[in-house]
């Protein structure tokens, strides 16, 4: 960097307290850090650690006055931001400091074109209109790597992919060449390959424009790749600060060490034993018809799963990997006969394809599923005990109340939860605990085969590691067979002994996990691996934008 390292942002003893009626919760507790020009500072921590709140308070974007800042100062280039009147802080927002949010789906207005949304920022802060604004917009869009920016001007957000939407968000953030860019988990909602592209883009833009960046993430891999300085946050406090190399090689605080230890590494994959086959499909197809016209005739098909043959053996784990939209979840649902499909499915020796819902019922005891989102998969209106018990009511109606309760207690103990909590409701549990409840619901029936549909992707790094450990322990203890669906290769690597890479509903590559990780054959698998483990982008055309 050519410029001298002068401080862009200086946060000193910042606290944020939220008021709920009488209660006051301290979300951020005396946090201090500084960002120099051209530097990237990463705030790392699990959800609820106060990292996003810290970032939002820099721009005074919190709900005031219910969230006061007791002591503390925020200086931006010598200006005391917390004391600025609203009119002046608005000038700082979007002009000197800009912010990118996590969810590109909801941070763009679905009713306006890209041109209009970028144009609004240009008009507000630079007063550009008409042709000048349009030229600047095209320039920005090409800067963030959107192909055919001219054509894209009239597009609406829904016509863009997630990665492209995030690029548009970045273009909006860069419109006025800010001094500081705050990125609040900008890649969490994206696929690994797209994530790698976006991170590269941010890094590249930062170097070109010489801006400072405050990067908020829970992913240590990103921090190592991107940041100069890292602040580790826990329960509202910064527990460790330092240059990235130092923190990663010689962590001081026990929490940092735990975080680093939890980071999934490409372990040697488990070996597959030659056990009997539990479930088998041959040339399985799930085609959704596209219907048009008055007569609703099918004019074509969306081939969500297109001719997939799998074979899972007792006690082993089949990992299914692919980006979003690759059909991996649909495959899981089809195998459990929750969506209709074509092609034979053989489960424990019986053909279950074509059975009615009622005929399927006896098989359901042996095949269970754990969903991705522990917030959506538990009914908020039922207590934990009712949730876990529900399946017993269907499959073991003869059990007495006491026996049933015993089964629930045993399942809760198995997943490492206190059985005394069974009368509580899901919202009183953390994400990781909820996922344990979902696992308990599946295993209380003592199934043979469990489909795990991204069971860890909604969770924090530390919790992910715990859940993976739990799943591994359960598999060993109960000789369970898993089908593990994930976009995160690092998690799959820890569990799967066989691997299936899917793209556009088709199998791109399959084989023993160790072999696929060591010598990926197809370029797509290579790109996935590079993105997941090294955050490297693939050559053009191998993956989508």
């Amino acid at each position: 960097m050519e410029a001298p390292y002068d401080k862009v942002l200086e946060v000193n003893e910042l606290s944020v307290a939220f008021k709920h009626g009488q209660h006051e919760t301290l979300a951020v507790d005396r946090v201090s850090f500084e960002i120099k020009k051209g530097e990237t500072v990463a705030l790392v921590g699990e959800s609820g650690s106060g990292k996003s709140v810290t970032a939002l308070s820099v721009l005074k974007l919190l709900p005031y006055p219910s969230a006061p800042h007791p002591p503390g100062t925020i200086h931006f280039k010598g200006q005391h931001l917390l004391h600025l009147p609203d009119a002046e802080i608005r000038h700082v927002r979007g002009n000197d400091i800009t912010i990118i949010f996590q969810e590109p789906m909801t941070s763009l207005n679905p009713l306006h074109t890209i041109e209009k949304q970028i144009g609004e920022i240009l008009l507000l802060h630079s007063g550009l209109t008409g042709q000048a604004a349009r030229e600047r917009t095209i320039e920005l869009l090409s800067q963030v790597g959107i192909p055919d920016p001219q054509m894209r001007l009239k597009s609406y957000p829904h016509q863009l992919s997630g990665g492209q939407r995030q690029r548009v968000m970045i273009a909006m953030a860069l419109a006025n060449e800010p001094d500081l860019l705050i990125a609040d988990e900008p890649t969490t909602a994206l696929d690994v390959t797209v994530q790698a592209q976006i991170l590269n883009l941010l890094k590249e833009l930062q170097r070109r424009l010489g801006m400072a960046m405050l990067f908020i993430t829970h992913d240590l891999g990103i921090v190592r790749k991107l940041a100069d300085t890292v602040c580790v946050m826990k329960e509202g406090k910064i527990v460790e600060t330092g240059p990235v190399e130092r923190v990663f090689t010689a962590p001081v605080h026990p929490y940092t060490r735990a975080l680093l230890a939890a980071e999934p590494k490409p372990d040697p994959a488990p070996v597959c034993a030659g056990a009997p086959v539990v479930i088998q499909t041959k040339d399985l197809k799930v085609w959704f018809p596209i219907k048009r016209g008055v007569m609703r005739r099918a004019v074509g098909y969306i081939k969500a799963v297109d001719g997939v043959s799998i074979e899972v053996r007792q006690g082993e784990t089949l990992g299914i990997v692919g980006e979003s939209g690759s059909g991996k979840t649909t495959l899981g649902l089809a195998i459990l006969r929750l969506v209709s499909s074509d092609g034979p499915i053989v489960f424990l020796g019986s053909t279950i394809a074509g059975l009615t819902f009622r005929q399927m019922r006896p098989f359901r005891r042996h095949m269970q599923i754990v969903f991705q989102d522990p917030y959506g998969s538990l009914s908020p209106r039922m207590s934990v005990s009712d949730i876990i018990e529900e399946g017993l009511g269907v499959h073991a109606p003869n059990l007495s109340r006491a026996e049933r309760e015993q089964r629930v207690i045993r399942a809760l103990l198995d997943v490492g939860l206190d059985p005394n909590t069974r009368f509580r409701y899901p919202h009183e549990f953390s994400g990781g605990q909820r996922q344990r409840i979902a696992v308990a619901r599946a295993i209380v029936l003592e199934p043979t085969f469990v489909v795990l549909d991204e069971p860890t992707s909604a969770l924090d790094m530390l919790i992910q590691a715990q859940i993976v450990d739990l799943l591994r322990a359960l598999q060993k203890r109960r000789n369970l067979t898993y089908m593990f669906i994930s976009h995160d290769l690092r998690v799959v690597a820890a569990l799967a002994c066989r691997l299936l890479v899917m793209r556009h509903g088709k199998v791109v590559e399959e084989g023993p996990a160790a072999e696929v990780f060591a010598r990926p054959k197809s370029p797509y698998t290579q790109a996935l691996l590079a993105a997941a483990f090294n955050l490297e982008t693939a050559p053009e055309d191998v993956v989508a934008q």
Binding site: F18, K19, H20, G21, G48, S66, L333, L336, L338, F357, M360, R361, R364, R365, M367, Q368, I369, F371, Q372, D373, G376, S377, L378, S379, P380, R381, M382, S383, S385, E390, G391, G393, V394, H395, D418, N420, T421, F423, R424, Y425, H427, E428, F429, S430, G432, Q433, A438, R441, L445
Partner: protein, 376 residues
Amino acid sequence: MGLGVPPERHSLAMSPLNRRRWQSFKANRRGYWAFWIFAVLFVVSLFAEFIANDKPFFVRFDGRSYFPVFVTYPETAFGGEFETAADYRDPYLANLIAAKGGFMLWPPIRYSYNTHNLDLPTPAPSPPTWMLTEAQCKSVVEHKGLSGCSDLEYNWLGTDDQGRDVAARLIYGFRLSVLFGLALTIVSSVIGVAAGAVQGYFGGWTDLLFQRFIEIWTSIPSLYLLLIISSVLVPGFFVLLGILLLFSWVSLVGLVRAEFLRGRNFEYIQAARALGVSNRTIMFRHLLPNAMVATMTFLPFILSSSVMTLTALDFLGFGLPPGSPSLGEMLSQGKANIQAPWLGISGFLTVATMLSLLIFIGEAVRDAFDPRKTFG
């Protein structure tokens, strides 16, 4: 595991979600007070017979007890001459009872909704008794052998154009309106929720046909049709209920249908299906509670609009049969008798208070069920 020691809870306790809703309902002071005021008014009006009646609720006569509110006694029971029902307001009967050392316990207002005051000081509609001048009272006072206006039997809010006590009619009218509203609301909610649930859960052709039917149905100008039907059928409480039901059940269908459509794809519904739980159980256990939130939110508003429709029909003269204590009829009398403002003003205040209370309650319920609403 970041959570601390779990609070001890019994399996039968109110769910924390409902407790939170109750808390936030209470936090809305206006709605909370409106709820209690309305509840008290409604419960009190349920006992209207004990507040405003032309029969005493207890008579002690000749060593025996009588309960005229519940039992109709013939005049002969008290030593009268005819087998007709006893008219306790008649001085003749009062004298008979007093002569045997008996006594009567009267409600605070000695008129029922259909009692005609035969000793009006002025032509009906007669103003509230406390507004009368001594000159106006003179003839009645002399006729009854009293000393002045203040000794007359009070019509606190005056009488209507048939000499019936306005206060008594308001109490009965309030009760009838609320009961009618509640009945209409409950029946139309049950039908609406069932129709919405079926459409939302099964989707496809069922949904498509039902939706088109509802679109056509709702585009019928309902008030005119109601006027036509009620001029053909003899209107009564249940006939009116049926006629209004024809159109009011649709109001919840869209909402419940949308909730079911949305709920069908929740992961916990998928999870229940993966467990092999039957369709009916899923609908009742998992989907219906979701839809009930929207329904509960709308109930007070449906109630107030039901009351309003009934009042409107009564006002136009197509509502309840003549003689019924109806607020709409009171308003139309107020319109016809501009010189008697006590009719219009009392009617208006009653309807306005009732509807405002319902709306305040509705707002508070809506906010209490809103998961995003926080009080701080």
